[in-house]
């Protein structure tokens, strides 16, 4: 059992994840879960900060992006990121609270690889990360 758990985290250990959320409590909660699994967590409180971090850190493996943020929201941020050819293969998991019909399509159109509802279910999040990082 333990061995299986360990093996399933192989895809996560040592990988760099950028967590983008304007609420520092969410950032704290998410980075608790991710660091426990051996991931290296970078954080950004705004879309602009996220883009700047990606530009200066070439080895980010995956991005967790909150959608509802003031000023520059997650959709806009993802659009800017996906316009840059060097991030073409960078998976982005969009996190959205109070999901409405059509949000999923909107996320995927803006450049998200996947879409998860907030509050985030830990197991769901980890399996999405494993899937996107395994490729």
């Amino acid at each position: 059992m333990l061995e299986r758990l360990h093996r399933s985290d192989e895809a996560l250990v040592g990988r760099k994840v950028l967590v983008v959320d304007d609420d520092v409590r969410n950032i704290f909660a998410l980075s608790s879960v991710l660091e426990r699994r051996g991931m290296i967590v970078l954080t950004a409180g705004t879309g602009r900060e996220a883009i700047a971090t990606l530009e200066t850190t070439p080895d980010v493996a995956i991005v967790l992006m909150d959608i509802m943020m003031p000023e520059m929201d997650g959709y806009e941020t993802m659009q800017v990121i996906s316009q840059n050819v060097s991030f073409r293969r960078l998976p982005i998991i969009a996190l959205i609270a109070k999901a409405m019909k059509g949000d999923r399509e909107k996320c995927l159109e803006a450049g998200a690889s996947e879409y998860l509802a907030k509050p985030v279910n830990t197991e769901q999040l980890l399996s999405a990360l494993r899937m996107w990082l395994h490729r």
Binding site: V24, R25, I27, F28, A29, S31, S32, E35, R36, T43, G45
Partner: protein, 114 residues
């Protein structure tokens, strides 16, 4: 870490006057004192800075010291960070007692007089 390297002490209080007085009291330690005016600001600092001790007020608007301590403690990086509460909170209040006891076994408590 070398012996003469300064450590960071994070002081959290929503009242600027209190922060100033902690600053005056702790200055003689010669360590690096960092001020935060809210729990939110404190968490942002913690994400980017190595902190040895968190000194915090219990009753603050929006996010109080109990909530903050819980959030800090659940993070693997801060499981051993010292947290000291500074409290003028009414400990006769049962609700406060039970919340306090859930976090107190890992934290220190300093009573704020007056």
């Amino acid at each position: 870490m070398s012996a003469n390297e300064k450590v960071n002490i994070l002081m959290v209080d929503d009242q600027p006057a209190k922060l100033l007085s902690y600053d005056a009291i702790l200055a003689e330690l010669g360590e690096n004192l960092i001020k935060a005016a809210s729990g939110r600001e404190a968490l942002e600092i913690l994400l980017k800075t190595d902190v040895a001790v968190v000194l915090m007020d219990v009753s603050m608007p929006e996010m109080d010291g109990f909530e903050m301590a819980e959030i800090i403690r659940q993070h693997p990086r801060f499981q051993k960070t010292a947290i000291i509460f500074i409290s003028g909170v009414h400990l006769t209040d049962l609700d406060n007692w039970s919340r306090l006891s859930t976090v107190l076994h890992q934290c220190g408590l300093l009573m704020k007089l007056g």
